[in-house]
């Protein structure tokens, strides 16, 4: 376990070096972008701004300075906002987590029953429909489904708002309004997961149903419902627990696109916007935050594996 934790450190270091170099080496200059359109700016001013943000240093020096800052919890100042990058990002993180958790709930609440139901009605038209949905839901691009959902529910039917966290003029604590806003993005974000879960659960349930202990349960005269829920489902769900670990990271990264479409003011949208204007400190903080979440969630998954299945030892 400790060894696994130690592995995480070089992984994160490696990611930081690669992302740092990629952002710096890709063409573009944040100071020129930021000052573009200023009537009176001189070359000297641009040099001073570059020096102020430490961008005039050689790349390795910039990296070391950045790393030293990170060790002190300082990811640098955002060039756009002139505020600490990490703080800005953490300000946006709750919105992302809200969306991710809502999507996770939807995936479980919809995906699991769909899969089990399909397995129990194997071969029926319902099963076929769910399987078709499983393939389509996984294959269609999120941005396309997102726009369709906006056009259908927000524009044509006008039942749900299409953008943002809150209706203009509503108070932050208006729970109903917040819920109405989260429905569309959460569903769109959850869609691929729902599709995956339903396929996964269908396969697992079919496996379990075919096993001896289920036949035994039937043979000893238990009601069908008891067999399915207490015996079959419980066993089919075990592998699911482990899948949850990696899910948080997937949701957080997947929310980048969804946040963009629905103008959901989360960390993903924020990092994306920063990438467009080469706001280096924010890009770095955003990527490192996402990577850390990913690494941590894989650690959790490994631990859960060992808990659920004692044959696998976390080493």
């Amino acid at each position: 376990m400790i060894r696994r934790l130690l592995y995480a450190i070089p992984t994160l270091l490696g990611i930081s070096v690669i992302v740092f170099m990629l952002t710096r080496l890709s063409p573009g200059d944040p100071v020129r972008l930021f000052t573009f359109g200023s009537v009176t700016i001189t070359e000297d001013d641009i040099r001073q701004l570059r020096a102020f943000y430490g961008l005039d240093q050689p790349l390795p020096v910039q990296y070391v300075n950045w790393m030293l800052g990170v060790l002190r919890g300082d990811f640098g100042m955002s060039l756009q906002y002139h505020k600490p990058a990490l703080g800005l990002l953490l300000e946006r993180l709750p919105a992302t987590l809200q969306l991710a958790l809502a999507a996770l709930l939807l995936q479980l609440l919809i995906g699991v029953p769909l899969g089990v139901y399909a397995a129990l009605k194997r071969g029926s038209w319902v099963d076929n429909a769910i399987r078709l949905f499983g393939v389509v839901g996984h294959a269609v691009p999120t941005f396309w489904i997102g726009l369709l959902a906006i056009i259908l529910f927000a524009v044509t039917l006008r039942v749900l708002p299409s953008q943002g966290l809150l209706t203009v003029g509503k108070d932050q604590s208006d729970i109903i309004d917040r819920l109405r806003h989260i429905i569309l993005p959460a569903f769109v974000l959850a869609l691929a997961g729902i599709a995956n879960y339903s396929r996964y659960l269908r396969t697992e349930t079919l496996d379990v149903i075919a096993q001896d202990f289920v036949r035994t349960a039937h043979a000893k005269g238990l009601r069908n419902r008891t067999v399915v829920f207490t015996h079959a489902l419980r066993n089919a769900l075990i592998p699911m627990v482990t899948a949850l670990g990696g899910l948080l990271a997937v949701l957080v990264s997947g929310s980048l696109i969804v946040e963009q479409i629905f103008t959901w003011p989360g960390a993903g949208q924020f990092t994306y916007a920063a990438a467009r204007v080469k706001d280096y400190p924010v890009i770095m903080a955003g990527v490192m935050l996402g990577s850390t979440l990913l690494v941590v969630s894989y650690l959790i998954r490994d631990v859960l594996y060992a808990v659920v299945d004692p044959r696998i030892k976390a080493r």
Binding site: S26, P27, G28, D29, R32, L33, F34, T35, F36, G37, S38, V39, T40, I41, T42, E43, D45, I46, Q48, L49, F52, Q80, Y81, H82, L88, E91, R92, A95, L147, I150, I151, A154, V155, R158, P161, S162, Q163, G164, L165, L166, T167, V168, G169, Q172, Q260, I261, F262, T263, P265, G266, Q269, F270, A273, R276, V277, K278
Partner: protein, 569 residues
Amino acid sequence: MKSTRAMRMFVSVLGAASLVATACAPSTTAPGATPAQAETPVAGGRVIEGTASDAQRLNPATSNDNVSSLVSGKIYDSLVNVDPKTGDPIPWLGKWTVSSDGLTYSWTIEAKANWSDGKPIIADDFLTRVKSQLRSKVTPNKSTFNDVVGAQDYQAGKATSVSGIKIDPADPKKFSVTFTKVFCPALLSVFGSAPLPTHIFGKYTVDSDVTKNLDDAPEINAPPVASGPFKFKEWRKGDQIILSRNDTYFLGAPLLDEYVLKVVADSTVGAAQLKTGELTVYSIQPGDVADLSKQDSLKVYRWQNPGYTYIGWRQQSPTATFLNDKRVRQALAYGINMKDVLQAVYFGEGTQVFSHHAPVSWAAATGLNPYAYDKAKAESLLKDAGYAKGADGFFAKDGKTLGFTIVTNQGNKTRETFLQAAAEQYKQLGVKINPKLEAFEALVPKLTGGSPEIESVIIGWQIGAEADAYTLWHSSAIPTPEKGGNNFVFFKNARVDQLLDIGRGPDCSKDARKKAYQEFNQILNEEQPYNFGISNNVLLATAANIRGIDPGSFSPTGEWNIHKWWIKK
């Protein structure tokens, strides 16, 4: 999500950014617009405007981006404004006189002009703006006040006051500013800089200590007082910024209760939100006009804009040397049917431009060559330049096909279509175009850094009321490896240099400047350093019940008179 962002990508070069929200000129409104005079304005309600991205810093001294200016321009008013009809400077928070040598401006701030907490707006507040901006480490507008006597010494910490700014000891609302040289655009760029409340921001800049500045002041993003029509209320980061009515506004309290700026991902979504009423003001794309005009709940305003989207031909390109030949550039002007481009790319929402100052500008020249589409003339010009058409249909000279790359910024649908149309039309003419897309953030440094890679480019200039075009066309603005510049087509003409100097002074009279700029425009029209392309209409869709909107060419947002907007119940 890309096309709205692309709209912002117009480069704003001329015209003070702080004036963006307050300038205006004549306009054409949508057919069927009802005259507002028949109705009695009532107070109440809010407008919700859509924007492609969030604001960055709500302080004009430290920010430069359009969205921040859109908000801070409603909170902080300037001493001078721009006439909506003519683009001329007009008194706003203050009135001015100029000394006979043109070096000293004397100002008197309106007696009834107060901050929203009741404190008077005084000369000190303008000085606070100047000092804050001079000492800021992060401002993109470090050099705005360079020509004010003593400003550079104050900036460097060599002086503890700006000696060129003198406040009348007898009247705190009176002051004078002396310049080191006459610089006609200064009226808008220097005095268009909105005063900042000294009692809020004064403490952050310390005269005797250059390391102290307002860059980290918490009041930057939550301004406690306002001089403009609206006060800051709340900023929900990444989602919306809410401003509320300033009842003490010197031109009278606005009729609207609130102004809300809301972030919208994309122009498609923005158009949808107009229909649902989630937005009530939004700048739309030409392609959305037909659909949105059909909605009874909406009204589309359109007006000409002094900026333009052009194809820049790089003279002195190491690879496309032929672009140095005026005949080739003129052939490229005759060889493209811009009327078709206007229809196909802009859905007819725009006007053709034949030189730097678009027809709406006071500095525009008349009698310019429109280079009406004439394929035969284009071919004969190319033949004059030594080219002959080969069997493949392309012109060639010395065995080399006449061809080059046109680049534009990726994600801007309008420009991408423009590029396709141009490439297709030039192919018909016999010129081989290699169309190339590049991310804006990568393209800009290449242009302003003078990268030899650039042969020609489709991009745009956003232009304000000030006619000064020095930073685009003067030979000193040609980029070199040491210093960047906006004259990235490498245009060099001694007479144009002279004319641009005349336009900057010492005679700042409109007649003198107009004469110089007209000749300047005639030379550009003849030389064709750009195909000046098209000035697109600004298209502002609003809820039909918003009254009092009176947009114009020198108000890019159409909101110069937002204090008079009202909502019909």
